[in-house]
Symmetry: C2
């Protein structure tokens, strides 16, 4: 108790969502502490999720995505060192070794508490020619891709490898710029976090928008001509492409912390408790590099989203400020996500069918079509709803929405139900908003709750 | 127990949302029962909420709003008698007297169980000239208004008296048709279910759209010339108007049931239990004519919304089918409502400040502006958020949203929190969906939850 003494030093590794949210909270909670941050790249606190919009030109400048610049952070009392890589972490001596990437010099920096928010690094593999591919995991990488697209007028076709959220958003952004895009993934579906039937609707939206979609093809290499990407080869075809973006996901960046003794969980991310403490005294962690508890399955997961990073950073800061007796506890995640792809909104929460199976949770499922507005109004929109509930209890286990008509954020109701273990038989009678511009008298999610109640043989069947 | 015997007769008074939802459920649950319905008007099962859109021409035909016609209901085994008014109810003899409005003849009809879904009747008062005003509480009345608007080319201005949901939607619909509209209300604000600061934003949207808004003026009469409305007079002005719509709200239609001994509560609506039983044996009630428990305040309220009517009808049917031992219980209402007025979405749930005060619940409040999408995207929209939480516990007591950018249905998350008594300090850390097209990393409602947690001195302050 008692907290860190005045003047104690908190070092933050990484200066994006998790790290800067922790640092800002620490400045507010304990202005007497010395907060220093080390960031490998040139940018701080930016919206990683906005990069596809920037690449596509919907957002004019990379700087528009920056929430707080290094100068702003410094003005707020956070000593940010950009272009400064942490290369070693000695948890016993409470010391990091950092390298100034511009000067090429290393130095040691002491800390009393350390917030490890090193994020994740994009997976690229070591296939032949991989060096000709772009990744867009950082704003700097986004700038590079956009510069190439802006500068070259000989680009006739771009390949995007990887059909997760970022890959899809990039493929759309390219087509929006007028660049033909081929989207390649080794899986038989886009967006592996969706059940296949729902992913098929997203695939259709991509195809209708003009994206060429090639599923079930594994990348085998990138061939270059004149030092530039010329084609992408897979186990099934060769796709001519003047540029290629690798959007193959990212792995938690844990190496330094792991070397310092921090435990890594089965998800590949750092083990932390509810207060974001790692297993090593004096080291907290938050953001893309940590493992969270999935509230529905109870199992460990690594979910890389800014929304979790921001919350976890604050929880860590509260604990550090109180020296290990912080009042906040990160409750875990429900697996909620939303995006807009090719004018289609896609949202999910809880577990997919495959995830429920892995977790050993027996579920009943329903999938049905509906409209986003009353069907007698102009442009009622189309939505496909999928919901899963647990056999026996009726607890909502997951939900997925794909559709037009601004239905994405409706997933939050299902997310709240998942978070609190609400049963579909009870959810049927909740007081949700109704008016014709928003659908029918029975809310979409309540239609699903009714169907599942019936399927599961629960009561009452309304 | 044991249920009604096969062939028993269930009479339904009224054939709109509550009544036909009960009747349809009864047909499904107990095809052996005889279900008969009496409806005063010519229409059955229509979307009352769609009437303003029809009056405005957004919906071409009145029939587009009809979910099930009398013929369709009959084909499904529900013996609907339209243009048939129930004029007496003898609960001891289990008999109603009905009048065939076309033939002008009365007859008695026996029942074993009765579902009283008589709805509400519009308030008009008895001011001079009130007979020249239109009401639009039924589809038939909507048809009449639309016919007048379609037929007459001498209408230069229409007055709408009453600035609740329907009044606002009608004023908008008139302006959309190219008809100047003046909206008059004796209250100092539009939409009394909103707190004044929020209502001011709705008023601005109306004015910007071209509606002339006159608040704080009490209707004193309608003056006619040549048998038609010529002007609306208030205690402060005379407003020339070639037609006038009275949208002054509606009172629960309880007279027959009350005369038969059914208790009426302080809200003016019929007292029912969770299974929709009135206080008289053999009579159930549902829809606009019943009183519900407000889950947040615990007090009795009369909320006239199709969404409750449909649910209550089903709950009543389940109880009748099981002869008083039905498995479903209507849990009450949270006061959730949504609408779109002049391209602005308006939503509310829980209690307003005034309602919380009446209920004796001490609250802290927050009101703030935000964007519906990330602020760096084109057309980020504008939203004003207001939230109320209970002093001491932190339980969310109410929320209101006014804005552009499709935020209306986001109220459902707050509604679910109100329904379940979620505390703002916990809500801060829920896993809600984030992506730039839907706002910032912190969901709007979580921003509010954070503010309220801080204001209330609760923990953790993130």
């Amino acid at each position: 108790m008692g907290g860190l003494p005045a003047g104690a030093r908190v070092a933050v590794v990484g200066a994006d969502a998790a790290g800067m949210s922790a640092a800002a909270s620490l400045r507010r909670l304990r202005p007497d502490l010395d907060v220093v941050a080390f960031e490998q790249g040139p940018d701080t606190s930016y919206s990683m999720c906005g990069i596809p919009a920037y690449v596509g030109g919907l957002v004019a400048d990379a700087e528009d995505l920056v929430v707080r610049t290094p100068a702003e952070l410094r003005a707020s009392g956070i000593a940010v060192h950009t272009r400064t890589e942490v290369v070693a972490l000695d948890s016993a001596a409470r010391r990091v070794t950092v390298r100034d990437l511009d000067a090429g010099r290393e130095r040691d920096e002491a800390y009393d508490a350390l917030v490890y928010t090193a994020g994740a690094h994009p997976v690229t593999g070591d296939l032949p020619g991989v060096e000709h591919g772009h990744v867009v995991h950082t704003l700097e990488e986004g700038r590079r891709l956009r510069q190439v697209l802006d500068a070259r007028d000989d680009i006739e076709r771009v390949a995007v490898v990887g059909a997760g959220y970022i890959g899809l958003e990039l493929a759309e952004a390219l087509v929006r710029r007028g660049l033909p895009a081929v989207l390649i993934d080794r899986n038989p579906q886009v967006m592996p976090s969706l059940d296949p039937a729902m992913a098929a609707h997203v695939e259709r939206a991509l195809v209708d928008f003009g994206v060429e979609v090639r599923l079930g093809e594994s990348l085998t290499g990138i061939s270059a001509a004149g030092g530039r990407c010329a084609a992408v080869t897979t186990d099934r075809a060769t796709h001519p492409a003047d540029a290629v973006v690798l959007a193959l996901g990212a792995r938690p960046r844990v190496a330094l912390a792991q070397a310092a003794g921090c435990a890594v969980g089965s998800s590949g991310a750092l083990v932390v408790d509810e207060r974001m403490r790692t297993t090593v005294e004096g080291i907290w962690a938050a953001g893309d590099c940590v493992e969270s508890r999935h509230i529905v399955s109870g199992g460990p997961v690594n979910v890389q989203l800014g929304t979790h990073a921001s919350k976890q950073g604050k929880v860590a800061a509260l604990d550090i400020a109180a020296d290990g007796d912080g009042p906040a506890r990160f409750p875990g995640v429900v697996g909620t996500a939303v995006t807009t792809v090719c004018d289609t909104e896609v949202a999910r929460t809880g577990l997919s069918t495959a995830e429920a199976e892995q977790a050993g949770i027996a579920v009943a499922e329903t999938t049905f079509g509906a409209t986003a507005r009353a069907d007698y109004l102009p442009a009622p929109g189309e939505v496909v709803v999928r919901m899963l509930a647990e056999v026996g209890s009726g607890r909502l286990v997951g939900a997925q929405l794909v559709g037009t008509g601004n239905v994405g954020k409706r997933i939050d109701v299902a997310a709240t139900w998942c978070q609190l273990g609400v049963r579909v038989q009870d959810a049927q009678l909740f007081d949700l908003a109704y008016a014709p511009p928003f659908g029918g008298v029975w809310d979409l999610l309540q239609v699903g709750a009714r169907k599942l109640t019936r399927t599961l043989g629960l009561s009452p069947v309304l």
